[in-house]
Point group: C2
Chain length 471, copies 2
């Protein structure tokens, strides 16, 4: 199994495939290769000790050991694992679970190889309230993994305060440590202080790795390991991909090619990037990619300080489902999108389609076929239809969906993002625009301080409902 | 409860709110009003007997009676209801369930007021296979509702053939009618023939109503009613909204205003339309809207036959979750989006945030607040941050989420779509571009006939992997 490599297939972005107006010709591709190849050595440096250090995670053997130790300590006592986190502290966890455990995992009390997993990345009282009503009778078998680098994220903090009180009311202040694992900064911050005071077991949000690049750390791997996912295979996949995506030969480097093609199309006015898995299991990865791409590449300023307001808009779609929802637009709407299909060659499970009844011979063509064959035929049919409308298509081919190939995919897209950021000439690793909304939330929630009070006065007339514009 | 109306709030698209480059000034708005108002009487005609007839559904009292009769017949015998459908035969069902039943509905065997609901809108052998393994021991208490106008949709047909065989193997050919309800054309088609032969109970996919406009028919309402949702309130909401959205006075018509604003912005280069509910319950409606908007407005040809390739790209986002994923891009990326928030004033459930421990005073500002207050403050904070970057924002205000307000919302967006289609000058109700992919699927699956065989020969070289472009 560990031999199976995912591959990037890019013939259907060429001028031969989608015409000269929308395709990339050989000369353009050579020039993309030259520009991009020059960036690869710098990216290799950058991700293993420069601006970010996510490239060190797959080699960190101690990390996997610590996680497995924590799993051994908690797994037997745990029938429900509840992750409290948001953004990079949730999307990776959801993506791994969706990819690598069955669709019915949480329902199937007999087949499941670990606790049920719930990930809460919101502050919705209807949603969380209904969950709390449901989980309260089962608290003694429930573990909460609260994930926040600082502990000050309003969503995670407020979820945690609610759950902390429920647990303290039930098990006393000393019982907290049997039900909460804090994943946070190693040294400092609000959650670190709370954990120290309550003697909570802790895991680490690593330094120098932004949230959206942290899935292959304690952040994403602990919940995965608890639910029976092979984290060694995930890391091995990432390690093996590291070799491929740091190859200075552009033509052998899938991240470089993927980044270059996306950058080229953005500059040509195709500002929407659709990730289109033909596998429900991979749909969570499309959502994870959505954050990775949007936060990393959506930037107002370039590195030289000029105002650019750039960034492709990532969109998740699901095959075949979205053929009956989005493909009309994808073919006949403006030609402003690049499509990246995720195609699975072996779906693991076979489902044979039986013969139709005699009154429905028009369905005979399905009889005896495997459902996976139909799914892949629909992918090819959709790609063919898009090509007929001159829409460029990439495909990432998965021999199968397993921890090793998913680890490869994650690392492929992390490095693709780093290279794309370098091509765009922006800082890939910050997110300055998120700050204003956080401060405004503090202000509206009545946090004390002149700054907040002044801002609250500013916001109210802008967002309070004015009858003139209400219909 | 039946008095509570949803409202459209549009101050934050004005030039005062987002500046003259990205806002709409009074003169522009007057001119939009004039152009749009002229279309309203025609739309009223169109939807109640013209090109489409979805406008007749809310008044159809017999429909609700039939559905309730079918529910009475099956509800007691049914612990699991499985919908087999795709596109308009699935997205509305999912949206109603997500909006109007608790998040834990399928898990909560004690609290639930109906069968568990599963909706399968794909042909993924891993996903469906794991579900079949799970459901097989419970077949005697499971009902399948197969929904297809023609019965020839490849996805629904193949799912149905698999399940049909499982049921016949277990209950014999005569047992099928106790476990399958067919929602299909009243007179003709493959599924109608199969239903007649096996004596299946049937419901109707109404004539003259496209799939994406069919949620308020048997298609969407039967599964809702089975799960305890008040379909009379849904229909009452749609009826009351009908009065508002057929009002020829533009300034009193929320659908006209919403359509006009969206159309204006598309023409100004804002080609992405983000629906951004701040309520998990409403997230499924954003996905339903995605189909409605994309298939209706994504068109190559205008009504006069000229080539236009138009259509806004709908995107679903979720607050607060996507603040930590997309807002960086939404503020600092290209100013190419219109945002439509869905805001809920009363979340139904209160969750008080307790005080933090003494070591974490920085969280004091949360203490004693209700989680719904935080959620709504985050919405306002995000809106404020977007306005600070001159991004236009609409809000649909829900007094609360219930069947009556959800019925209003559905009808509001259906008519908004009809008016937008008229403004764009396209056929809102067809989907010609979906056809090629369907035929190509037939071809690749080996359907016999010269047309298919020829096409299969065409497709293969285009979609088969060519080593030169594989990395």
């Amino acid at each position: 199994m560990l031999k199976s490599q995912i591959k990037l297939y890019y013939k259907n972005i060429t001028a031969e495939a989608v015409g000269s107006e929308h395709g990339i010709d050989r000369q353009q591709f050579e020039s993309l290769a030259k520009k991009t190849a020059a960036l690869i050595p710098g990216i290799k440096e950058e991700i293993t000790g420069g601006a970010t250090r996510y490239g060190l995670l797959p080699d960190n053997a101690q990390m996997a050991k610590n996680i497995k130790k924590m799993v051994r300590q908690f797994k037997d006592k745990c029938k429900n694992l509840v992750v409290l986190g948001i953004g990079g502290s949730a999307l990776g966890n959801i993506a791994l679970q969706t990819a690598l455990n069955p669709y019915t995992y949480n329902l199937d009390d007999k087949g499941r190889k670990g606790p049920r997993l719930f990930v809460f990345d919101n502050v919705d009282p209807a949603q969380l309230g209904s969950f709390l009503d449901f989980i309260k009778p089962q608290l003694s078998k429930t573990i909460f993994n609260v994930i926040s680098k600082s502990g000050q994220t309003a969503e995670t903090a407020s979820q945690f305060l609610i759950i902390r009180k429920i647990l303290v009311d039930k098990f006393g202040p000393k019982g907290l440590k049997n039900h909460v694992i804090a994943t946070t900064d190693l040294q400092k911050g609000t959650l670190r202080k709370i954990a120290a005071e309550a003697d909570l077991p802790t895991l680490e949000v690593p330094d120098g790795v932004g949230g959206r690049f942290s899935v292959l750390s304690d952040v994403g791997l602990f919940s995965a390991a608890m639910c029976g996912i092979n984290i060694d295979h995930l890391l091995a996949g990432a390690r093996d991909m590291h070799t491929r995506v740091t190859n200075p030969d552009f033509f052998k480097n899938p991240a470089a090619i993927c980044a270059a093609i996306n950058w080229h199309y953005y500059n040509q006015g195709k500002k929407i990037s659709v990730m289109f898995p033909y596998s429900y299991a991979l749909y969570g990865l499309a959502d994870w990619y959505r954050q990775l791409w949007a936060e990393s590449l959506g930037k107002k300023s370039s590195l030289d300080g000029s105002e650019v307001f750039i960034g492709p808009t990532p969109v998740k779609a699901l095959g075949t489902t979205d053929q009956h929802s989005q493909v009309q637009l994808y073919r006949e709407g403006p030609n402003d999108k690049v499509f990246t299909f995720l195609e699975v060659q072996n779906h693991g499970k076979k489902l044979r389609i039986p013969s139709p009844p005699a009154c429905a011979r028009e369905l005979d063509y399905l009889a005896g076929k495997d459902m996976g064959e139909l799914l892949n035929a629909e992918k090819k049919a959709t790609e063919y239809a898009l090509l007929a409308s001159n829409r460029p298509c990439l495909t990432v081919l998965f021999p199968q969906v397993n921890a090793y190939t998913v680890g490869q995919f994650i690392y492929l897209y992390e490095v693709t993002t780093s290279i794309a950021g370098a091509l765009f000439g922006i800082n890939t690793y910050d997110q300055p625009a998120v700050e204003l909304g956080k401060v405004a939330t503090f202000a509206l929630m009545g946090k004390t301080g002149d700054e907040y009070e002044k801002m609250a006065r500013q916001i109210k007339p802008l967002t309070e409902v004015d009858g003139e514009f209400l219909v």
